[in-house]
């Protein structure tokens, strides 16, 4: 049998990721005090972590169902743009969104000010409600896309039949929509639950304190404030068990992550023509659009004002973030290509398993582990940025693989036989067949990875000394010292950087030769 593309590189890259995570785990375990004991505050952290994830998942999906239904059965100008906007949270830096949410919903935010005009007290979004609000902001669009996919998977012929028979909305719901929702909703709930379990940046900025600390945040606090490696280790193990168990249980119902597809394709519908239905749908769509656009608009407005207020450290951080993101994206592509080629030729389901690994692994656990490993031999702070780039690449890997595998599968199905007939193999196989075929997907995956890396506020918070910062970290520091205008300027810059990096990569992919 001739050597197949990715047959060596795939296992090697997967193995490398596995070893990197395992090494961190071993290092963490070695620092934990045995036997492991959890005290009351640990249980409180665990309870909060699970509770906020449950609330976030349920609210995101509950909000997403009517929005997805409205989007599925209405056609209006700007529908395509709105569906595209639903994909934006994937590349939106968390800290930027948090600042936008604070600008709208915070104590001194737009809504609180309006309430103040009527003599009402301001609203507070620190704590559980803030964490859940931010999680819903990020995951409601994801849920909407997943559920909209379900709606659009219902064959058009069935709706034609509905129109011909003049079935009322209630009957349509019972016969067509409810069975679909029963298939799609559990997967969406599970996915969002797992994503929120390992959430860090949101909890760091909007949570905190004994009543609103996630496990991930507790690892950071044990590490950064107390430098208690033993406790950080115990919490890391707890995180691994909780997220790993949840992800393993969720594996069977995780939906396929379709990030780009014909979701903007409108469908002619003949049901739900009544005025009430139309007003309701318009209301849901308007509310969702407002909920997503207001914080983004807030960042743009206050950011434009704050651009002039930024200290020079912001520019240094911008440069740092850029090269960390580029390095991270290169690492991502080098790992993702062979893994995707390998999985593209193996049984289905393997790609799902690797996604699971990525979702369950906690960046702060990996960061803590590598800090422990580097600490005896060198100053970990000097490795802050390379480790950040590596962890970012590993975190984006499951998404990239998920995006690339279907393209690889298709390429092998369509051109594997021809390649074998002509003896195109090895590096030539990559250059002549695979890369040109998957270029659009590769560009999209790389763009996603670059944007995720540039916006990441995670492992870098563990390592960085005061001199070095990525742009999100610098922004967080500005927010921490109440320099809100400068932080807003940095947020706008970060947003532009994330979108710009995504655009450069995605645009490269779109210019594939067909």
């Amino acid at each position: 049998m001739a050597q197949r593309a990715g047959a060596i590189g795939g296992p090697v890259a997967s193995g490398a990721v596995f070893v990197l995570i395992l090494a961190a785990l071993v290092a963490v375990t070695s620092k934990a005090d045995w036997p492991v004991r959890f005290d009351a505050s640990d249980w409180a952290v665990l309870r909060f972590t699970v509770w906020q994830a449950v609330l976030s998942a349920v609210l995101s999906v509950a909000f997403a169902i009517p929005v997805a239904r409205a989007l599925a059965r209405r056609r209006f100008a700007g529908r395509g743009a709105l569906v595209t906007l639903l994909g934006a949270p994937f590349i939106l830096p968390v800290i930027v969104a948090v600042l936008g949410i604070l600008t709208v919903f915070g104590r001194a935010g737009w809504i609180s000010q309006t309430l103040g005009n009527f003599g009402l007290p301001p609203i507070s979004i620190y704590g559980l409600q803030g964490v859940v609000l931010a999680h819903v902001f990020f995951n409601m669009p994801l849920a909407t896309r997943l559920i909209l996919q379900g709606w659009q998977a219902i064959p058009a012929e069935q709706y034609r039949l509905v129109g011909q028979l003049g079935l009322p909305a209630r009957t349509v719901f019972q016969t067509l929509e409810w069975p679909m929702l029963r298939q799609v909703v559990p997967g969406a709930l599970a996915l969002i639950f797992v994503i929120c379990l390992t959430s860090f940046a949101v909890a760091l900025t909007l949570g905190g304190g004994p009543r609103a600390t996630t496990i991930e945040l507790a690892i950071y606090q044990a590490f950064r404030f107390d430098f208690d490696l033993g406790r950080a280790a115990i919490l890391s193990l707890l995180q691994l068990v909780v997220a790993g168990t949840a992800a393993a249980l969720a594996l069977w119902i995780l939906p396929p992550l379709v990030l780009q597809s014909g979701l903007d394709r409108p469908l002619v519908r003949w049901d739900a023509r009544g005025l009430t239905h139309r007003l309701l749908d318009a209301g849901w769509i308007g509310a969702a659009a407002l909920f997503l656009l207001l914080p983004l608009g807030a960042v743009a407005v206050s950011g434009a004002i704050g651009l002039g207020q930024m200290p020079s450290s912001v520019w240094a951080a911008t440069w740092t973030s850029t090269w960390v993101a580029v390095l991270s994206t290169v690492l991502l592509v080098v790992m993702a290509l062979p893994v995707a080629a390998w999985l593209g030729q193996s049984a289905k389901g393997s790609a799902e398993a690797i996604t699971l690994l990525g979702l369950a692994a906690s960046p702060l656990m990996i960061g803590t582990g590598w800090f422990i490993l580097i600490y005896p031999v060198a100053n970990p702070q000097s490795f802050a940025l390379p480790v950040t780039a590596m962890v970012n690449a590993m975190m984006a890997l499951p998404f990239a693989v998920r995006i690339l595998v279907p393209g690889m599968r298709q390429s092998f199905a369509d051109y594997g036989r021809l390649s074998r007939a002509l003896g195109v193999k090895g590096f030539a196989m990559w250059r002549i067949v695979l890369l040109p075929r998957i270029r659009p997907r590769l560009g999209f995956a790389a763009g996603l990875g670059a944007a995720m890396s540039v916006g990441d506020l995670g492992v870098v918070t563990l390592f960085a000394d005061p001199e070095v910062a990525t742009l999100p970290l610098q922004m967080y520091r500005l927010m921490g010292s109440y320099r809100t205008e400068a932080a807003s300027g940095a947020a706008l810059l970060l947003l532009a950087l994330a979108l710009g990096l995504f655009w450069v990569c995605d645009n490269w992919g779109r210019h594939a030769e067909r």
Partner: protein, 231 residues
Amino acid sequence: MLSVEELIIEQGDFILRADFEIEAGARVAVLGPSGAGKSTLLGAIGGYVPLAKGRVVVNARDVSGAPPDQRDIAMLFQDGNLFPHLTLAQNVGLGLRPALRLTKAETAQVREALARVGLAGFEHRKPGDVSGGQQSRAALARMLIQARPLMLLDEPFSALGPALRSEMLELTSEVARDAGATVIMITHDPKDAERASDQIVFVDAGQAHAPRAVADIMADPPEALRAYLGV
């Protein structure tokens, strides 16, 4: 030239047996009802379908375990014979150099091959920019340049209209003659078989029968072939 020795192919419940020889320079049509195993037979000879038993011998060399590109065989499939993202010249060039690093002389050779099949000046077109017939011509140009002693055709022209199809069969015969190659081609149409081949391998009920001269077999078709032809 080609001998298929006590071949058995198993695909689930389906079993195909074949045991025959084909002489050098012959033009052989493989005829039979759909699902009889014609494509499977060619796939096994070409190295795409694993053998349960038996040997495939090309020019006295046992190639049963060899990968498809090392069997001295060139093959065209029903579809997907060209990479859509490569130019016609690149697609043809792959027949010379699978890594596509061509010398000047080889590039000239590619141009000649394209001219030979009537595609002079089409070097830089992509398959999507030319007609189905021109795509077939480009694929034939690659076969010409591959210069393998055995050519297998799994109905590559079935999507073309009757006139174009017979034109392509004619061109195939010319290309094979130029390259001095033996041709085995699958067809549904007995007229195609009569026009473009000297011998017929009839495949039916899990058995590929030894080749017989076209005039011979058509004059006195066996029972199963009679049923297939409807005569």
